[in-house]
């Protein structure tokens, strides 16, 4: 990734992070868009898996510090998701938007799964409802938003060459 590409990616990720803390509270949907996951995937596929894990960890720490959720849960989830996204980058950045959408969905759902299990520490009906109803819905919404972002930024973004 050259410097221009790095700057562009950083800028897009920054915008997505800002959107996460501005647009998301404004919309206040029950199944809301997770712009941090989109930003994480966009950044991770341009980094090595280890660096992607660190990127996810830092992003997760930011999320943990602001949210009331258990501190470290988002960091753990994003580390894993970032590492996985970087490892699967070839698949993720196929030219198929539907496939990209599916991986965004999967990433968000895995994130929620780890986050909720680590954060709740106890299995109860509410957790099951969250995992099997609200998380897939939020993942679907995030996937749609991510696909739109990818479609809009496709001319600007370039994939790291292997």
């Amino acid at each position: 990734m050259n410097w221009a590409g790095a700057v562009r990616t950083t800028l897009v990720c920054a915008i997505l992070i800002v959107l996460h803390y501005t647009l998301r509270p404004l919309l206040a949907w029950r199944a809301s868009i997770d712009f941090l996951i989109v930003a994480l995937l966009l950044g991770s596929v341009r980094l090595r898996p280890g660096a992607a894990a660190v990127y996810g960890f830092l992003l997760g720490l930011v999320a943990d510090s602001i949210a009331v959720s258990p501190f470290g849960a988002a960091a753990l989830s994003m580390s894993v998701v970032g590492f996985g996204a970087s490892w699967l980058k070839a698949v993720f950045f196929a030219d198929n938007l539907a496939l990209n959408g599916f991986f965004l969905f999967l990433a968000k759902w895995v994130f929620d799964l780890i986050f909720l299990i680590v954060g709740h520490r106890a299995i109860d009906p509410e957790l099951a409802m969250q995992i099997f109803v609200w998380s897939p819905l939020a993942a679907a919404v995030t996937a749609v938003a991510g696909v739109i972002v990818l479609a809009l930024l496709k001319p600007l973004m370039e994939v790291r060459s292997t």
Partner: protein
């Protein structure tokens, strides 16, 4: 190359492991240990994001508050509209209840469902929610508090269909308020608002009705009882009939405003409705009765006054006579009914003083 790749993979795995371990440490930390870290992050690196989030939440709160205010004002407006509709409905129901209490018996209440086809310019019939089970029969009059609405055309067990006065098949025998003119009411053949007018045909030429004259059912023909309000005279219509006059009537009832009606039973039609719609004929007779009653009261009062005056004069006369007698030394017995009767008997047995006794 392969060594470098293997080294890279190990570094990646090591970084992931490090991140996971650090995250797990953060998770298992106690609240008092993790809060300073989170707080430090919030005050430094994450501060701009915290500010953005707070601003967004404030905007959201303002938006929600504005929506709630809008909802509140909308609900107030809707309540106002509903209140008006309820008020109108209440007025109609009150009138119907008033009509029902005036009629007392011989009617079936029903809701009127307007069934005008979109192609029809004029509403000519309506469906009633009462049928033969409730006692509705064909040709029963359908009335509203304002007056005549129509007549039942078909009566099914649970519902019935009534034709309105706008129907070409509608006829009603009618008369003027003072019963000076009789005729037959027909629907007026016109378009637009004129289609809801009526015609009073067959009025003798010698009778001229003034605009505003109230027209009621005459009771002739047996379909409608006497005295149901039909409408008022608007003007005379020019026709080719030389011996009769035709008048344009404005109906008392507007079909679009009719939501609840009463169906008069056949027995009620036979026995009449009396002065329920304030028929002037009945009003006139009532007025005459009142005037006559007033006259009799006045006559009675005059009579009583004359009697009282006469009684006073009599007592004065008697008092004068008694005082004269007392002054002449004649004993005056108290005047009692008994003494008066005895005196009368004595008078009747006593020979006439003017007549000389037989010698």
């Amino acid at each position: 190359m392969a060594t470098a790749a293997r080294y890279g993979s190990r570094v990646d795995a090591g970084l992931l492991a490090g991140c996971v371990v650090l995250s797990l440490i953060a998770v298992v930390l106690k609240d008092e240990d993790r809060e300073p870290i989170a707080s430090a992050l919030r005050r430094s690196v994450v501060a701009p994001l915290v500010g953005l989030q707070r601003g967004a939440e404030r905007w959201r709160s303002a938006w929600v508050a504005s929506e709630q205010r809008q909802l509140a004002s909308d609900s107030v407006a809707i309540r106002g509209i509903k209140e008006h509709a309820l008020q109108v409905e209440n007025d109609q129901l009150r009138k119907i209840v008033g009509l029902g209490s005036r009629l007392e018996w011989g009617f079936i209440p029903a809701e009127a469902v307007h069934s005008a086809a979109p192609s029809e310019d004029v509403v000519t019939n309506m469906t009633l929610t009462a049928g033969s089970v409730a006692g509705v029969q064909r040709y029963n009059p359908v009335v509203a508090p304002e007056g005549l609405v129509g007549v039942v055309q078909t009566a099914d067990p649970t519902m019935s269909v009534a034709i309105l006065y706008t129907s070409p098949d509608f006829r009603a025998s009618a008369m003027s308020a003072d019963a000076s003119a009789f005729g037959i009411v027909y629907p007026h053949t016109g378009r637009g608002s004129a289609a809801y007018m009526l015609e009073l045909r067959g009025v003798p030429t010698r009778v001229q009705l003034k605009p505003g004259t109230q027209i009621f059912t005459s009771g002739l023909g047996g379909t409608f009882p006497r005295g149901i309000a039909i409408g008022s005279v608007v003007s005379e219509l020019k026709t080719t009939e030389p011996w009769t006059r035709t008048y344009l009537l404005r109906p008392s009832v507007s079909p679009s405003h009719v939501t609840t009606v009463l169906v008069l039973t056949a027995q009620r039609v036979t026995q009449g409705t009396g002065n329920v719609w304030g028929a002037a004929v009945n009003v006139d007779s009532a007025t005459r009765r009142i005037i006559a009653a007033n006259d009799s009261i006045a006559r009675q009062a005059t009579l009583l006054e004359a009697q009282a005056r006469r009684a006073v004069l009599d007592s004065v006369r008697r008092a004068t006579i008694d005082s004269v007698r007392r002054s002449l030394g004649v004993i005056v017995a108290p005047v009692t009914p008994e003494s008066t009767a005895v005196r009368a008997r004595l008078d009747s047995t006593r020979p006439d003083t003017t007549r000389k006794p037989p010698t």
